[in-house]
Symmetry: C2
Subunit: 220 residues, 2 copies
């Protein structure tokens, strides 16, 4: 079973590594790192470059597609979006962590569906005809999307549950000792105190400026 | 504030990246990657090499120390253990994810204390005069240890809570949208069903063979 990770400059390292560490602990999965062309691709911090072993022209199919998010602004890269469109028919499952869902949306894989993304990009899905959901994990057919960075671990486990069954998903969860215990219950805009929510928005203000049509995720 | 990440061949990528992604979202932290000498250090899978910018001889102090775990067997590296011993007096906090605690234990930083580690290494702390705890996060003075791989995120948030206060810890949790939702409650030996526990042990059997003195973590 071939897992293709799509890399592009500015990807969030935890989105890739979180999903990878889960999937790599399952039996029989081969990992392929794909980008424009073979070579190192820098993450958002520049400290965790990952080497793409193959360029998009070398990979025509995959069983599982994994698309990480990014905390940079800007539209998805056209060449990579075209590649997703090309490869998608061959895949059993596609998953995107955080704003990786914007790539899947741009490729038309989520048309008319609901999808998750990082809360700061909640307003960016509508332009692709996709409805933002503030649920952590969202399934639309064979496409799975999730909330921000840390959700890649949850999402990859959910994907293993679908692709390999509950015994493998649980065994991998145990192997990684994934029994989360965050010190606070502040991990989503709906749960964070108002002043923390304000701080979080300030952090992303330069990346994804608030716009009139932007919904406050978690607002009811 | 200088955060020094100790790298050694075979480290678990998620231990480093999970902690890093949390700490890098806090204001005013500078990251330093340290190993035997400057150069790339390969992780357990070989796919996420991280470049050590500095060798141990170039770094004499740090405010925060971060030591990742590994799923390889073998004793901690003497040179790196000596370096931990040298640097520790200058640090405000030290943290280890998973079996990184064996490094801190070997350096004498946990003598007579309780510590967490990956469940598969529960039997390996006693030789250093350290008592294994099956809690996810354990604090012994200014040294924090945690359970396996995925716990590095929890631990780094707990550390930020201590070093920067609750507002920063919660804001970073929101930035990373860390609102975990694992599909199963199987992330520790005490919680996993017996057959899953068996599978998990089989996975680690080659790395850390069961021994007579090895306790079953979670057993009461």
């Amino acid at each position: 079973m071939k897992v293709a990770y799509l890399l592009y400059p500015g990807f969030t390292a935890l989105d890739v590594v979180g999903a990878f560490q889960v999937l790599a602990a399952a039996p029989g999965l081969e990992s392929v790192f794909v980008s424009h062309e073979a070579g190192p691709v820098v993450d958002s911090t520049g400290l965790f470059p990952v080497r793409a072993r193959q360029g998009v022209h070398d990979v025509q199919d995959a069983d599982l597609l994994v698309v990480p998010g990014s905390d940079r602004s800007g539209a998805p890269d056209d060449l990579l979006v075209d590649w997703l469109r090309l490869v998608h028919p061959s895949t059993s499952w596609a998953m995107a962590a955080g704003t990786g869902s914007l790539y899947l949306a741009a490729a038309g894989l989520l048309a008319g569906a609901e999808a998750a993304t990082h809360w700061s990009a909640a307003g960016n899905l509508a332009g692709y005809g996709v409805t933002y959901s503030d649920r952590r994990l969202v399934r639309a057919g064979n496409v799975l999307t999730s909330a921000g960075a840390s959700a890649g671990i949850d999402l990859a486990l959910a994907l293993l549950d679908l692709s390999h069954g509950p015994a493998v998903a649980q065994t991998v969860q145990l192997i990684l000792e994934y029994d989360p215990e965050p010190p606070y219950d502040a991990g989503s805009p709906a749960k964070a105190p108002a002043d923390i929510d304000e701080e979080g928005r300030a952090y992303y203000a330069d990346v994804r400026p608030p716009s009139a049509d932007r919904q406050r995720p978690g607002a009811r």
